[in-house]
Subunit: 178 residues, 2 copies
DNA sequence: CGCGGCTGATTGACATGTCAATTATGTAGG
DNA sequence: CCTACATAATTGACATGTCAATCAGCCGCG
């Protein structure tokens, strides 16, 4: 728990082969996990994980509606990404855009009955998949370690990643999957 | 700290709130990490992480050339993805396609001088970023835990993820970043 | 040879993401 | 009021991914 790195602490050494191996394993596994979950969601519900994130947020919102901006920051998406995605979801009748009374620049995003139904049908299978591929795959200790890793890495990202307005919030910034 | 989930152990229970929180933190952190690394690579080298994966493989190949198919399986990409990507890289003069003497269906992908130079310029900054955002962010124990998690999750993916031909190799299947 | 099936690779259609404008509306100060 | 700037959201151009279809060259077998 004590030694951070034993030796060449002075200069800007590069990662060792072993460190790189772990890095690749880690990032590729996370990526594979994400893509497997996405594929299952898609085949079971015809929803992408982006759709799911939007629908989840709306389903929890008061009146099943939300300002576009608030939605974007809630799920931690760039606004233009959300705008494009909402266009696609609107075409599929999952959401609807309405004018906002309070601020006529704004739009309110409203969950449609179709959208709500799709979301409800997707929920249980999706959460089951999360359980199967993540929660149940790990021991309790590993699960705790996963949370710990995430927190540690996020902390590092939040101090050094202050470049583009990307993600890297200090607090967990939910996005997709839930 | 002890009880995993006290009760409904029999049926197909869904993840608890806490388990879901960890899941979201984990997957979103990995995603943020990936996107931060990608953004740095892009701004420092005008290379995407896809470009980097391809260039890395070619730079290590004999004669800086490789059959398209071998390249695809080496970096664990779908062939059509690789084909599209190579088209874009060829336009930027990072790689070149040549006919394959042995099998005239085939193509050999060749690293151009421009491609090699771009890759060489990208390497050190990229590995430094990996060190900064991942390796150095973690204690030795956490690093080991990360490797352990990856292996465990990958094992689960490889047995249950046998659906589409996606990733989920049993062994670490390098893709981007390196 | 010549058919049939496998393999290597590309293509087209479309979903998804990013970045840099652009449009339109709010708001503060003179 | 009116200009200057900030904010809400969309748009366009383009990079990246997936899937299914296609095209062409290999190979085995009668």
């Amino acid at each position: 728990m004590m030694q951070d790195t034993p030796r060449p602490r002075r200069a800007r050494r590069l990662p060792t082969t072993e460190e790189l191996r772990i890095w690749r394993d880690f990032i590729e596994t996370a990526e594979t996990l994400r893509s497997e979950l996405t594929a299952r969601l898609q085949s079971e519900s015809s929803l992408s994980s982006g759709d799911y994130a939007v629908l989840l947020a709306l389903s929890e919102a008061e009146g099943h509606r939300m300002r576009s901006s608030d939605l974007a920051s809630h799920i931690d998406w760039e606004r233009s990404r959300l705008s494009h995605h909402l266009g696609r979801m609107e075409r599929r009748d999952l959401i609807r855009r309405e004018e906002c009374a309070a601020d006529s620049r704004g739009a309110e995003i409203v969950l449609t009955p179709t959208g709500l139904q799709s979301f409800r049908q997707a929920t249980v299978p999706h959460l089951s998949a999360v359980r199967e591929l993540f929660v149940d795959a790990l021991t309790h200790e590993q699960l705790i370690a996963a949370g710990d890793l995430a927190a540690t890495l996020r902390a590092r990202l939040s101090v050094s990643g202050r470049r583009r307005g990307s993600a890297a919030q200090t607090k967990a910034a939910r996005s997709d999957d839930g």
